[in-house]
Amino acid sequence: MLNLDVNGRRVTVPKASTLLSAIRAAGFDVPTLCHHEAVEPYGACRLCVVEVRERGRSKTRVVTACNYPARAGLQVETESEAVLETRREVLDLLLARCPGSEVIRGLAAEAGLHRSSFPPDRNRDDCILCGLCVRICEKLGFSAIGMAGRGAHREVAAPLKEAPPDCVGCGSCARVCPTDNISLVDRDGMRSIWGRDFELVRCASCGRAYITREYQASRVEGSGLPAEHFELCDECSRARLAKTMFAHMALGPDAREEASDD
Protein backbone atom coordinates (compact mmCIF):
# COMPACT_ATOMS: atom_id res chain seq x y z
CA MET A 1 0.00 0.00 0.00
CA LEU A 2 1.11 3.59 -0.58
CA ASN A 3 -0.17 7.04 0.33
CA LEU A 4 -0.69 10.02 -1.93
CA ASP A 5 -2.71 13.24 -1.89
CA VAL A 6 -5.51 13.95 -4.34
CA ASN A 7 -6.75 17.54 -4.20
CA GLY A 8 -5.31 17.67 -0.69
CA ARG A 9 -7.11 14.53 0.46
CA ARG A 10 -4.94 11.64 1.66
CA VAL A 11 -5.68 8.29 0.04
CA THR A 12 -4.14 4.84 0.48
CA VAL A 13 -4.07 2.55 -2.54
CA PRO A 14 -2.42 -0.79 -3.35
CA LYS A 15 0.98 -0.73 -5.04
CA ALA A 16 0.79 -0.88 -8.86
CA SER A 17 -2.40 1.18 -8.88
CA THR A 18 -2.89 3.76 -11.57
CA LEU A 19 -3.36 7.41 -10.76
CA LEU A 20 -6.89 7.18 -12.12
CA SER A 21 -7.92 4.49 -9.66
CA ALA A 22 -6.28 6.45 -6.82
CA ILE A 23 -8.25 9.56 -7.83
CA ARG A 24 -11.49 7.57 -7.87
CA ALA A 25 -10.63 5.90 -4.56
CA ALA A 26 -10.21 9.38 -3.09
CA GLY A 27 -13.75 10.23 -4.19
CA PHE A 28 -12.85 12.45 -7.14
CA ASP A 29 -13.26 11.84 -10.83
CA VAL A 30 -11.81 12.94 -14.14
CA PRO A 31 -13.49 12.48 -17.52
CA THR A 32 -12.36 9.53 -19.66
CA LEU A 33 -13.39 8.22 -23.05
CA CYS A 34 -10.87 5.51 -23.94
CA HIS A 35 -10.56 3.94 -20.49
CA HIS A 36 -12.03 0.50 -19.78
CA GLU A 37 -11.19 -1.78 -16.85
CA ALA A 38 -11.25 -4.92 -19.00
CA VAL A 39 -8.23 -3.77 -21.01
CA GLU A 40 -4.86 -2.16 -20.30
CA PRO A 41 -4.70 1.63 -19.95
CA TYR A 42 -4.04 3.25 -23.29
CA GLY A 43 -3.88 7.03 -22.81
CA ALA A 44 -5.44 7.86 -26.17
CA CYS A 45 -8.21 10.33 -25.43
CA ARG A 46 -6.04 12.54 -23.16
CA LEU A 47 -9.06 13.73 -21.21
CA CYS A 48 -7.91 12.28 -17.89
CA VAL A 49 -5.05 14.79 -17.62
CA VAL A 50 -4.10 15.81 -14.07
CA GLU A 51 -1.29 17.85 -12.53
CA VAL A 52 1.20 15.95 -10.38
CA ARG A 53 4.09 16.90 -8.13
CA GLU A 54 6.51 14.11 -7.21
CA ARG A 55 7.75 13.88 -3.63
CA GLY A 56 10.66 16.27 -3.01
CA ARG A 57 10.20 18.13 -6.28
CA SER A 58 8.97 21.68 -6.72
CA LYS A 59 7.98 21.43 -10.38
CA THR A 60 4.66 19.99 -11.44
CA ARG A 61 3.78 18.04 -14.58
CA VAL A 62 0.57 17.42 -16.46
CA VAL A 63 0.12 13.67 -17.08
CA THR A 64 -2.64 11.28 -18.14
CA ALA A 65 -4.05 9.67 -15.00
CA CYS A 66 -5.13 6.41 -16.64
CA ASN A 67 -1.63 5.18 -17.40
CA TYR A 68 0.45 7.01 -14.80
CA PRO A 69 1.52 4.93 -11.80
CA ALA A 70 0.39 6.03 -8.35
CA ARG A 71 3.56 6.72 -6.34
CA ALA A 72 4.05 7.38 -2.64
CA GLY A 73 3.96 11.05 -1.71
CA LEU A 74 2.55 12.19 -5.03
CA GLN A 75 0.46 15.34 -4.92
CA VAL A 76 -2.31 15.30 -7.50
CA GLU A 77 -4.57 18.12 -8.62
CA THR A 78 -7.55 17.23 -10.82
CA GLU A 79 -9.06 20.70 -11.25
CA SER A 80 -6.07 23.05 -11.32
CA GLU A 81 -5.73 25.78 -13.92
CA ALA A 82 -3.13 23.81 -15.90
CA VAL A 83 -5.44 20.77 -15.93
CA LEU A 84 -8.52 22.66 -17.05
CA GLU A 85 -6.50 24.49 -19.71
CA THR A 86 -5.04 21.25 -21.10
CA ARG A 87 -8.37 19.46 -21.00
CA ARG A 88 -10.03 22.36 -22.82
CA GLU A 89 -7.32 22.21 -25.50
CA VAL A 90 -7.88 18.47 -25.96
CA LEU A 91 -11.61 18.99 -26.21
CA ASP A 92 -11.10 21.83 -28.67
CA LEU A 93 -9.27 19.40 -30.97
CA LEU A 94 -11.81 16.61 -30.45
CA LEU A 95 -14.63 19.03 -31.17
CA ALA A 96 -12.98 20.05 -34.45
CA ARG A 97 -12.59 16.40 -35.37
CA CYS A 98 -16.14 15.29 -34.56
CA PRO A 99 -18.36 18.37 -34.34
CA GLY A 100 -21.45 16.18 -34.56
CA SER A 101 -20.71 13.90 -31.59
CA GLU A 102 -23.10 14.47 -28.72
CA VAL A 103 -20.68 13.05 -26.14
CA ILE A 104 -17.85 15.33 -27.28
CA ARG A 105 -20.16 18.32 -27.47
CA GLY A 106 -21.40 17.64 -23.95
CA LEU A 107 -17.88 17.37 -22.51
CA ALA A 108 -16.79 20.48 -24.40
CA ALA A 109 -19.77 22.44 -23.13
CA GLU A 110 -18.87 21.41 -19.56
CA ALA A 111 -15.43 22.89 -20.21
CA GLY A 112 -17.04 26.09 -21.50
CA LEU A 113 -16.44 25.34 -25.18
CA HIS A 114 -19.40 25.69 -27.50
CA ARG A 115 -17.53 25.69 -30.78
CA SER A 116 -14.05 24.69 -31.74
CA SER A 117 -11.40 27.31 -32.41
CA PHE A 118 -10.14 25.02 -35.20
CA PRO A 119 -11.98 24.57 -38.48
CA PRO A 120 -14.39 21.69 -37.91
CA ASP A 121 -14.01 18.57 -40.02
CA ARG A 122 -17.49 18.02 -41.39
CA ASN A 123 -16.64 15.04 -43.57
CA ARG A 124 -15.50 12.73 -40.84
CA ASP A 125 -17.45 10.29 -38.70
CA ASP A 126 -17.41 10.47 -34.89
CA CYS A 127 -14.40 8.18 -34.38
CA ILE A 128 -11.84 9.68 -31.99
CA LEU A 129 -9.30 6.89 -32.67
CA CYS A 130 -9.23 5.83 -29.03
CA GLY A 131 -8.97 2.22 -30.17
CA LEU A 132 -11.26 0.91 -27.45
CA CYS A 133 -13.21 -1.21 -29.96
CA VAL A 134 -9.96 -2.71 -31.27
CA ARG A 135 -8.66 -3.45 -27.78
CA ILE A 136 -11.92 -5.00 -26.58
CA CYS A 137 -12.12 -7.14 -29.73
CA GLU A 138 -8.57 -8.33 -29.10
CA LYS A 139 -9.39 -9.00 -25.43
CA LEU A 140 -12.31 -11.17 -26.49
CA GLY A 141 -9.88 -13.14 -28.62
CA PHE A 142 -11.21 -12.26 -32.06
CA SER A 143 -8.98 -9.36 -33.23
CA ALA A 144 -11.38 -8.89 -36.11
CA ILE A 145 -10.69 -5.18 -36.44
CA GLY A 146 -7.54 -3.10 -36.11
CA MET A 147 -5.96 0.24 -36.75
CA ALA A 148 -5.11 0.99 -40.37
CA GLY A 149 -3.26 3.86 -42.02
CA ARG A 150 -0.99 6.49 -40.53
CA GLY A 151 -1.23 10.09 -39.50
CA ALA A 152 -4.32 11.82 -40.84
CA HIS A 153 -5.33 8.59 -42.60
CA ARG A 154 -5.39 6.49 -39.46
CA GLU A 155 -8.69 4.69 -38.95
CA VAL A 156 -10.30 1.66 -37.37
CA ALA A 157 -10.80 -0.93 -40.08
CA ALA A 158 -11.09 -4.61 -40.83
CA PRO A 159 -8.20 -6.32 -42.68
CA LEU A 160 -7.96 -5.04 -46.28
CA LYS A 161 -11.03 -2.94 -45.47
CA GLU A 162 -13.23 -5.87 -46.36
CA ALA A 163 -15.87 -7.61 -44.25
CA PRO A 164 -13.83 -8.99 -41.31
CA PRO A 165 -13.67 -12.80 -41.51
CA ASP A 166 -12.87 -13.17 -37.78
CA CYS A 167 -15.80 -11.07 -36.57
CA VAL A 168 -18.49 -13.05 -34.73
CA GLY A 169 -20.92 -10.16 -34.50
CA CYS A 170 -20.98 -9.98 -30.68
CA GLY A 171 -21.47 -6.22 -30.93
CA SER A 172 -19.16 -5.35 -28.01
CA CYS A 173 -17.21 -2.86 -30.15
CA ALA A 174 -20.36 -0.91 -30.95
CA ARG A 175 -21.59 -0.91 -27.35
CA VAL A 176 -18.29 0.21 -25.79
CA CYS A 177 -17.57 2.91 -28.40
CA PRO A 178 -17.61 6.17 -26.38
CA THR A 179 -18.98 8.18 -29.30
CA ASP A 180 -21.45 5.55 -30.59
CA ASN A 181 -19.72 5.60 -33.93
CA ILE A 182 -19.97 1.91 -34.85
CA SER A 183 -23.13 0.92 -36.63
CA LEU A 184 -24.89 -2.21 -35.35
CA VAL A 185 -28.30 -2.94 -36.81
CA ASP A 186 -30.51 -5.84 -35.73
CA ARG A 187 -33.39 -6.34 -38.14
CA ASP A 188 -35.51 -9.31 -39.23
CA GLY A 189 -33.37 -11.80 -37.38
CA MET A 190 -30.15 -10.50 -38.92
CA ARG A 191 -27.37 -8.37 -37.45
CA SER A 192 -25.36 -6.05 -39.68
CA ILE A 193 -21.99 -4.83 -38.42
CA TRP A 194 -18.69 -4.02 -40.14
CA GLY A 195 -20.23 -4.74 -43.52
CA ARG A 196 -21.16 -8.28 -42.56
CA ASP A 197 -24.57 -9.84 -42.01
CA PHE A 198 -25.00 -12.37 -39.25
CA GLU A 199 -27.92 -14.66 -38.66
CA LEU A 200 -29.29 -14.20 -35.15
CA VAL A 201 -30.30 -17.22 -33.09
CA ARG A 202 -34.00 -17.19 -32.37
CA CYS A 203 -35.36 -18.11 -28.96
CA ALA A 204 -36.59 -21.71 -29.09
CA SER A 205 -39.80 -20.65 -27.38
CA CYS A 206 -40.84 -17.15 -28.51
CA GLY A 207 -38.71 -16.69 -31.62
CA ARG A 208 -37.07 -13.46 -30.46
CA ALA A 209 -33.59 -13.02 -31.95
CA TYR A 210 -30.83 -12.13 -29.49
CA ILE A 211 -27.32 -13.47 -30.23
CA THR A 212 -25.43 -14.33 -33.42
CA ARG A 213 -24.90 -18.02 -34.20
CA GLU A 214 -21.14 -17.40 -34.34
CA TYR A 215 -20.93 -15.72 -30.94
CA GLN A 216 -23.18 -18.36 -29.41
CA ALA A 217 -20.86 -21.10 -30.68
CA SER A 218 -17.84 -19.18 -29.43
CA ARG A 219 -19.29 -18.73 -25.91
CA VAL A 220 -20.47 -22.36 -25.70
CA GLU A 221 -16.90 -23.40 -26.42
CA GLY A 222 -15.28 -20.77 -24.22
CA SER A 223 -17.52 -21.17 -21.19
CA GLY A 224 -17.92 -24.93 -21.09
CA LEU A 225 -21.66 -24.42 -20.62
CA PRO A 226 -24.01 -26.79 -22.42
CA ALA A 227 -25.47 -25.31 -25.64
CA GLU A 228 -29.00 -25.44 -24.16
CA HIS A 229 -28.04 -22.48 -22.00
CA PHE A 230 -28.16 -20.24 -25.03
CA GLU A 231 -31.36 -21.57 -26.58
CA LEU A 232 -33.93 -19.50 -24.69
CA CYS A 233 -34.13 -15.74 -24.44
CA ASP A 234 -34.10 -14.15 -20.99
CA GLU A 235 -37.85 -13.49 -21.05
CA CYS A 236 -38.68 -17.15 -21.75
CA SER A 237 -36.13 -18.39 -19.21
CA ARG A 238 -37.81 -16.17 -16.64
CA ALA A 239 -41.26 -17.51 -17.58
CA ARG A 240 -39.92 -21.05 -17.18
CA LEU A 241 -38.53 -20.22 -13.74
CA ALA A 242 -41.87 -18.72 -12.72
CA LYS A 243 -43.65 -21.90 -13.73
CA THR A 244 -41.15 -24.11 -11.94
CA MET A 245 -41.41 -22.11 -8.74
CA PHE A 246 -45.17 -22.11 -9.00
CA ALA A 247 -45.25 -25.86 -9.52
CA HIS A 248 -43.14 -26.44 -6.43
CA MET A 249 -45.15 -24.18 -4.24
CA ALA A 250 -47.59 -25.65 -1.75
CA LEU A 251 -50.75 -24.97 -3.70
CA GLY A 252 -51.99 -28.49 -4.03
CA PRO A 253 -51.87 -30.91 -6.95
CA ASP A 254 -54.50 -29.06 -9.04
CA ALA A 255 -52.42 -25.92 -9.25
CA ARG A 256 -49.35 -27.95 -10.12
CA GLU A 257 -51.17 -29.54 -13.02
CA GLU A 258 -52.43 -26.18 -14.23
CA ALA A 259 -48.88 -24.86 -14.27
CA SER A 260 -47.55 -27.78 -16.27
CA ASP A 261 -50.41 -27.51 -18.78
CA ASP A 262 -49.52 -23.96 -19.90
Binding site: A38, G171, R175, V176, S223, S237, R238
Partner: protein, 135 residues
Protein backbone atom coordinates in the same frame (compact mmCIF):
# COMPACT_ATOMS: atom_id res chain seq x y z
CA UNK B 1 -23.75 -16.17 9.01
CA UNK B 2 -25.21 -16.17 5.53
CA UNK B 3 -28.24 -14.16 4.59
CA UNK B 4 -30.41 -15.15 1.68
CA UNK B 5 -33.06 -13.33 -0.27
CA UNK B 6 -35.90 -15.84 -0.24
CA UNK B 7 -39.00 -15.93 -2.42
CA UNK B 8 -42.33 -17.30 -1.22
CA UNK B 9 -44.67 -17.11 -4.22
CA UNK B 10 -47.64 -18.23 -2.13
CA UNK B 11 -47.50 -14.90 -0.29
CA UNK B 12 -47.08 -12.69 -3.38
CA UNK B 13 -50.11 -10.54 -4.21
CA UNK B 14 -48.66 -9.14 -7.44
CA UNK B 15 -48.52 -5.54 -6.21
CA UNK B 16 -45.12 -5.02 -7.87
CA UNK B 17 -43.92 -2.79 -5.04
CA UNK B 18 -40.64 -4.74 -5.19
CA UNK B 19 -40.11 -3.72 -8.82
CA UNK B 20 -40.55 -0.05 -8.05
CA UNK B 21 -38.40 -0.25 -4.90
CA UNK B 22 -35.64 -1.96 -6.88
CA UNK B 23 -35.80 0.49 -9.77
CA UNK B 24 -35.53 3.46 -7.44
CA UNK B 25 -32.81 1.94 -5.25
CA UNK B 26 -30.56 1.40 -8.23
CA UNK B 27 -30.87 5.02 -9.30
CA UNK B 28 -31.83 4.08 -12.82
CA UNK B 29 -34.86 6.35 -13.00
CA UNK B 30 -37.57 4.41 -11.24
CA UNK B 31 -38.69 2.64 -14.42
CA UNK B 32 -40.02 -0.75 -13.24
CA UNK B 33 -38.90 -2.29 -16.56
CA UNK B 34 -35.34 -1.69 -15.40
CA UNK B 35 -35.92 -3.46 -12.12
CA UNK B 36 -33.81 -6.48 -11.23
CA UNK B 37 -36.81 -8.22 -9.70
CA UNK B 38 -39.68 -9.05 -12.02
CA UNK B 39 -43.13 -10.19 -10.96
CA UNK B 40 -44.62 -12.71 -13.36
CA UNK B 41 -48.19 -13.97 -13.47
CA UNK B 42 -48.57 -17.73 -13.63
CA UNK B 43 -52.08 -18.92 -14.25
CA UNK B 44 -54.87 -16.90 -12.69
CA UNK B 45 -54.20 -14.66 -9.71
CA UNK B 46 -50.93 -16.35 -8.97
CA UNK B 47 -47.77 -14.27 -8.96
CA UNK B 48 -44.13 -15.15 -8.69
CA UNK B 49 -41.46 -12.54 -7.94
CA UNK B 50 -38.35 -13.51 -9.86
CA UNK B 51 -34.83 -12.48 -9.11
CA UNK B 52 -31.29 -13.78 -9.28
CA UNK B 53 -30.81 -17.04 -7.37
CA UNK B 54 -27.08 -16.30 -6.85
CA UNK B 55 -26.25 -19.84 -8.10
CA UNK B 56 -23.33 -21.75 -6.60
CA UNK B 57 -22.05 -22.57 -10.07
CA UNK B 58 -23.35 -19.58 -11.91
CA UNK B 59 -23.78 -19.75 -15.67
CA UNK B 60 -23.42 -15.96 -16.00
CA UNK B 61 -19.96 -16.10 -14.43
CA UNK B 62 -18.93 -18.91 -16.77
CA UNK B 63 -20.40 -17.18 -19.83
CA UNK B 64 -18.56 -13.91 -19.19
CA UNK B 65 -15.42 -13.76 -21.36
CA UNK B 66 -13.78 -10.94 -19.34
CA UNK B 67 -14.46 -11.91 -15.69
CA UNK B 68 -16.76 -8.96 -15.10
CA UNK B 69 -18.92 -11.00 -12.71
CA UNK B 70 -17.82 -12.37 -9.39
CA UNK B 71 -19.18 -13.28 -6.00
CA UNK B 72 -19.06 -10.53 -3.40
CA UNK B 73 -17.22 -11.55 -0.26
CA UNK B 74 -19.52 -9.41 1.88
CA UNK B 75 -22.98 -10.35 0.59
CA UNK B 76 -22.32 -13.65 -1.18
CA UNK B 77 -24.21 -12.27 -4.18
CA UNK B 78 -22.76 -12.29 -7.67
CA UNK B 79 -21.94 -8.71 -8.61
CA UNK B 80 -21.51 -7.20 -12.07
CA UNK B 81 -18.51 -4.91 -12.39
CA UNK B 82 -19.90 -2.40 -14.89
CA UNK B 83 -16.48 -0.91 -15.52
CA UNK B 84 -15.21 -4.34 -16.60
CA UNK B 85 -18.30 -5.40 -18.56
CA UNK B 86 -17.65 -5.23 -22.32
CA UNK B 87 -21.38 -5.33 -23.19
CA UNK B 88 -21.13 -8.57 -25.21
CA UNK B 89 -24.37 -9.74 -23.55
CA UNK B 90 -23.30 -13.41 -23.51
CA UNK B 91 -24.53 -13.78 -19.92
CA UNK B 92 -28.07 -12.71 -20.81
CA UNK B 93 -29.16 -15.88 -22.62
CA UNK B 94 -26.67 -17.98 -20.62
CA UNK B 95 -28.57 -17.50 -17.36
CA UNK B 96 -31.02 -20.42 -17.27
CA UNK B 97 -33.38 -18.30 -15.17
CA UNK B 98 -33.40 -15.16 -17.29
CA UNK B 99 -32.14 -12.97 -14.49
CA UNK B 100 -29.58 -10.95 -16.41
CA UNK B 101 -30.91 -7.80 -18.00
CA UNK B 102 -29.52 -5.25 -20.43
CA UNK B 103 -32.06 -2.57 -19.62
CA UNK B 104 -29.52 -0.15 -18.14
CA UNK B 105 -28.67 3.35 -19.24
CA UNK B 106 -24.98 2.54 -19.86
CA UNK B 107 -25.68 -0.74 -21.74
CA UNK B 108 -23.88 -2.80 -19.07
CA UNK B 109 -25.78 -5.87 -17.90
CA UNK B 110 -27.62 -5.58 -14.60
CA UNK B 111 -28.61 -8.19 -12.05
CA UNK B 112 -29.72 -8.43 -8.45
CA UNK B 113 -26.90 -7.53 -6.05
CA UNK B 114 -29.10 -7.78 -2.92
CA UNK B 115 -28.52 -4.00 -2.70
CA UNK B 116 -25.17 -4.63 -1.05
CA UNK B 117 -26.83 -6.39 1.90
CA UNK B 118 -30.07 -4.44 2.38
CA UNK B 119 -32.42 -5.45 -0.44
CA UNK B 120 -35.04 -2.77 -1.07
CA UNK B 121 -37.52 -5.31 -2.51
CA UNK B 122 -37.61 -7.32 0.73
CA UNK B 123 -37.84 -4.19 2.82
CA UNK B 124 -40.86 -2.90 0.92
CA UNK B 125 -42.65 -6.21 0.28
CA UNK B 126 -45.91 -5.89 2.23
CA UNK B 127 -46.54 -9.63 2.52
CA UNK B 128 -43.03 -10.99 3.11
CA UNK B 129 -43.13 -12.83 -0.20
CA UNK B 130 -39.57 -11.54 -0.43
CA UNK B 131 -37.49 -11.82 2.71
CA UNK B 132 -33.83 -11.31 3.47
CA UNK B 133 -33.19 -13.78 6.23
CA UNK B 134 -30.40 -15.63 7.93
CA UNK B 135 -30.17 -19.29 7.02
Amino acid sequence: MTKLLTVSPARCIGCRTCEVACAFRHLEDGVPGRSRVQVRAVGRDVWVPLLCLQCEEAACVKACPVFALWRSSTTGAIDVQPERCVRCNACVPACPFGNMSVESADKAVIKCDVCGGDPACARFCPTRALEYIEV
